[in-house]
């Protein structure tokens, strides 16, 4: 009983997820800076590792302002739901073993639903602020959901068909039993669709249209300050960790790898983190080499290119299964 509580709260639960997400934000920023010939964070802690912690603490110490016309309830609840949802969904990842803390049959559908919930929360946050820029950002965020959601769902479902299971742990087990990671067969198409759709989900360049800093000044986040903004930033970091981990678990075999019996949890964690870091590298490189798209171009791109490939993928999977 105590063991399970500690598992959920400390490792590999909430505390571990918070720490590793902030670490991954540092990895992302440092790599992004090195791709641009710059230094990146270098003052807070050795090599600037503590910079995301410092940013979090700084945000928590700022003044909490609620704009006068805003709807107090939505304004306060949106960041809480966003960070809680993304923290919750991280617990389905198989970090220390072939199953996550909360894994159950069907958790892939729950994951997809909560990722959509995040986008709806973004819309609520923007509209609840009752500000012009926030409304534009919220509308763009909801519109962006229409673009990437269906190809992403089709990709994940095609993996479920190949693995004959609707849980992330089941897909990992299927890769272990096959002896071959899912990226090595027709699911490579799905991997590319997943990379693009995940960038759109996390609202990073080239799809950071809802919070385009240069056009609508932080979009739906524009009225948030202090603790609420800290929670939104944390939720973005959780999402980064979650989607990288999801990519590693679904396509690269998750924590699977050569094991020494007795040291299994440690080795599984190490393998999982290495693969997650690799997927994170791919996300950062995509972020660095493209310009931002316009919202109509993004929607037409995803319906002209992502959708057909997702449909081809699922047909291929059905045929080959």
């Amino acid at each position: 009983m105590i063991e399970e509580v500690l598992e959920v709260l400390v490792f590999p639960g909430a505390l571990f997820i918070i720490v590793i997400s902030l670490f991954y934000e540092w990895v992302d920023r440092k790599l992004y800076a090195r791709l641009q010939n710059r230094v990146g964070p270098h003052l807070a802690g050795p090599f600037g590792i503590l910079q995301p912690f410092a940013d979090l603490i700084k945000l928590l110490s700022k003044e909490n302002i609620v704009p006068a016309p805003a709807d107090r309830f939505t304004f306060t609840f949106a960041p809480i739901i966003a960070s809680a949802a993304t923290l919750f969904v991280c617990m389905f990842l198989p970090v220390t073993g072939l199953k996550g803390i909360l894994s159950f049959e069907g958790d892939l559908i729950v994951v997809i639903a909560i990722l959509s919930l995040y986008s709806i929360v973004v819309y609520l946050a923007g509209e609840g602020s009752r500000s012009r820029f926030a409304s534009i950002g919220a509308a763009r965020g909801a519109l962006q959901l229409l673009g990437y959601e269906i190809p992403l769902t089709l990709t994940l479902l095609s993996l479920a068909v190949s693995a004959r299971s609707l849980s992330i742990a089941g897909i990992v087990k299927a890769q272990v039993e096959r002896g071959l990671w899912f990226i090595a067969d027709q699911h490579i198409i799905g991997f590319i669709i997943f990379l693009i759709a995940a960038q759109a989900e996390m609202e990073r360049i080239p799809f950071d249209i809802p919070e385009a800093e240069q056009e609508i000044v932080a979009g739906w986040e524009v009225e948030y300050t202090g603790t609420r903004l800290a929670l939104f930033r944390l939720s973005e970091d959780f999402e980064l960790f979650f989607l990288s981990g999801l990519g590693a678990a679904l396509f690269l075999g998750g924590p699977a790898g050569p094991v020494i019996p007795g040291l299994e949890p440690l080795l599984y964690t190490v393998y999982f983190l290495i693969k997650t870091t690799f997927i994170l590298f791919l996300f950062t490189i995509i972020r660095a080499v493209f310009a931002r798209l316009r919202i109509d171009q993004m929607i037409s791109f995803s319906w002209k290119w992502l959708m057909p490939f997702a449909v081809i993928l699922i047909i291929l999977t059905e045929v080959l299964a």
Partner: protein, 116 residues
Amino acid sequence: MKAPGYFIAEALRNLFKKRATILYPYREVDKIHVPEGFRGRIEFNREKCIGCQLCSRVCPAKAIEVVQDEKGKRPVFLIYRCIYCGQCAEVCPAKAITLSKFFENIALRKEDLVVR
């Protein structure tokens, strides 16, 4: 439609190159290279000054005041108003004013930014 990601090769190559940033001022202060002829802070040689007051009249920013001391009139340079144009050095007939290479002209007291 052209294939995206033309830029990836260059970006990845830069990952392994040395960074272009100079970590000034906390480390690497000596890597700042200031060339000869840089127009920095004013340096004044009292011995050479002949008291013609041309520098004070020509300064565009009114940064030179003239005071009387035991040897005659001489200028006082207010660095907090100086725009580093170098006009005073050009116009001085006795070549008593030079512009050094020092560029960190910040101080906590106004007195530190006056050259007498």
